[in-house]
Symmetry: C2
Subunit: 522 residues, 2 copies
Amino acid sequence: RPYELISTVCLFFCVIRYTNGIALSGISGVAHDKMTDKAVFTRDKVLTIHTMNPTVKKVEYAVRGPIVQRAVQIEKELKEGVKKPFTEVIKANIGDAHAMGQQPITFFRQVLALCSYPELLKDNMFPEDAKNRARRILQACGGSSIGAYSASQGIECVRQDVARYIECRDGGVPCDPDNIYLTTGASDGIVTMLKLLVCGEGPTRTGVMISIPQYPLYSAALAELAAVQVNYYLNEDKCWSMDVSELERSLSEARKYCNPKALCVINPGNPTGQVQSRQCIEDVIRFAAKEHLFLMADEVYQDNVYAEGCQFHSFKKVLFEMGPQYSNTVELASFHSTSKCYMGECGFRGGYMEVINMDPEVKAQLTKLVSVRLCPPVPGQALMDLVVNSPKPGEPSYNNFMKERTATLSLLAEKAKLTKEILNTVPGITCNPVQGAMYSFPKISLPEKAIKEAKALGQAPDMFYCMKMLEETGICLVPGSGFGQKEGTYHFRMTILPPTDKLKILLAKVKEFHQKFTKQYS
Amino acid sequence: RPYELISTVCLFFCVIRYTNGIALSGISGVAHDKMTDKAVFTRDKVLTIHTMNPTVKKVEYAVRGPIVQRAVQIEKELKEGVKKPFTEVIKANIGDAHAMGQQPITFFRQVLALCSYPELLKDNMFPEDAKNRARRILQACGGSSIGAYSASQGIECVRQDVARYIECRDGGVPCDPDNIYLTTGASDGIVTMLKLLVCGEGPTRTGVMISIPQYPLYSAALAELAAVQVNYYLNEDKCWSMDVSELERSLSEARKYCNPKALCVINPGNPTGQVQSRQCIEDVIRFAAKEHLFLMADEVYQDNVYAEGCQFHSFKKVLFEMGPQYSNTVELASFHSTSKCYMGECGFRGGYMEVINMDPEVKAQLTKLVSVRLCPPVPGQALMDLVVNSPKPGEPSYNNFMKERTATLSLLAEKAKLTKEILNTVPGITCNPVQGAMYSFPKISLPEKAIKEAKALGQAPDMFYCMKMLEETGICLVPGSGFGQKEGTYHFRMTILPPTDKLKILLAKVKEFHQKFTKQYS
């Protein structure tokens, strides 16, 4: 609206401001709204883009960035009847399995319903094992209600179940429930650990090594904490594996301007979909030990391994297999979540972290810090419990649970293969196998003309490409620049989550778009 | 365990360290465990109390502090059969209604069960209005599952319902759903707002005014953000009301060493249980406008008003009644939660905040910031929706809902009165009426001898008192020093939540203990 400042009125008020301070001060101007013919009161804001926290301004999170905002807009436009060259937006930007049609595990949801409304325990429609799990969780809650706060570290019996699960996963390596912290999704645990680590100023400011490409939670959290982001590059030519020589290069450069204290690894990889070999993990642990780095292992995709010959090795298991000179000394925090794997329950915000070799005084500080937020959501804790304590052979729900779990994972494996195969048929797109996780991160070659046009618009070239793809095809991907990539290379991340038929359409459209785009700018 | 350092072995390893760097470096020492006759590998930790984030060390949170940790220990000891002068620990330290036996609202839990396991929609055991609410929530979720991520700001239809609820609560003052952000409990919203506000260094560092006594989330969040905590005192003699003259004193002193930018108010009060008058709120708003302060109104106890003549007035409503020179200019964020009021659903971590007159650029930054954590827990969002869109007259669940709601609130009103009356019969305890919220915050006089003994132990005198009470009676309260209080005064916070019969026992025990304690130290 056009405001016209009436300076005489303003002056009048300013005078009053000093003579009758209480009633009218705080108003720094009065404007006149031509449309409504009314006086409009204005005042300098306390909180503006110039007075706000500068570290928050530096935060970026591509997975829900401008391209996704535009996708939401386009969806609204479609609903309003705006004509587009497509009829629906396909969101392949985020690992949101249920939104893409994946069905929840029946057993998990039965237990959650029982916990929510325990009257249902009297009903005959639920299997006994579901009822038993619900009773056990409820007994561990204050007043037998999931509406009570839990201990800040998480419900004790859930932490015990997590510990048993980890022991079983890692072939008997012991796990102490006291080292388990339940979290509000894995993100919460990762941010909390980073918060503990960061200190110092200038050249002693804490540096944290993260992979490039990375999941942008890391860069966002480091920006917010004003920590130094230390990049190490994954080797795209070797299927996004980690090279110790690259870690060494990155570290020695970083030591010139900050104090690198931690090394973060995402395995299976996000956004890159690789599964690191046991040897690679051992090398990384040895490097961390040698260089005195705290290890953070983001292992939320631990059940999402598809490629033949690939296997998930937890950092903890490898650490313990390397003998006491490592297992008694290297500090490690590892993270898991209810959001990924075969369950895909993102909305519940469940997760845990395990801390190994953490200094007891620091652990007390961690426990104190998490207490300020009272507790992670209890339904998410209950769900985490079900994931680590799923139906056992012989229990009534076992067969159906296994059927559902296997079906989901097989379908994901099939889609992982399909995605890689189809993308690699497109000239100008090269794509590593999706060994695990839920994403493909293909390299795209962009014509010089497109790069120039993007730069003229102040956009990253792959943002320009993805935005154009969205407008023309309705497909929502995230540009590689949102995750980081080697200078001069371009990528996008796409999830393999859409239902197979939709995924095929999506891949065909990507192919068609890429060819058209290349032609247009050649 | 006693470790004996074997320096020769250590030297041996140190040599190897430089000749065979990869295999053995990172070990900075090898010790010998006498008990097991084995070598023990040691290494300086990366993360120690000396190298960790110093702002985290400054965080304190009394509501779950040492006294509560001791209470948990005592509970374990009782279970193990350790003899004590009591048979159970009564936790009156935290506003955790369900843990104290309050029953959840049936309608809310029915809808949550339906959302968790939509197969139940086919069942005849649920009322139609519960099914309709569940269908509406599920339709708003990706893939019709509460396991999908929601928009980071919260599910759109829930935000619309919140806006309608606020309009209705505030007698028609308009509310824009775009100004609503769903949160992970109110704490999350408060911390997020503080995070936006804080900047500057030294004398320009952001100051935030908080009441003393305060809810320690505020002091904890400010410590973590390294912001300056600016205290203003509530007037205990006038039932913990706010005085503008005290706000002025506090502000003008603070301006000498920081840049005060925000004023936080908790109404109804935590830990002090007062309900601020409409006049007082108007005065505070005028003060904030005059002094150019961002207002934060913590209104999570808005339904918990018991005292005759008291009424809840939202800051927003009063702001809009003061006319456009205020309603168009004063920046306000207000907070609500599913954890308190008549529902007491703490475990779900549901909540919302409304922002008024926020600069659009800052709002864009806020939206970006919340996107990094993906979304608040969806079950908590669903619950928040039910709170703001509870059964309407004529719907099948209305009567039962109203019966449950009224019963809970009446019982709380009765216990508020009872607590104040009994505490005021104890010589040396004086207690303001519990007008609202869930807490009594009585002043206790402590004998000089007790104060000396406490100080000799390095304890706050009221911590010494509460710890003794816990050991002797099993009652867990929080000392006033955890919330802040006028120098030389002592208090404790106790919740009014225990069931009436237990509350009576608790109050009788407090009385007996206080008399005994006073006698012992006189």
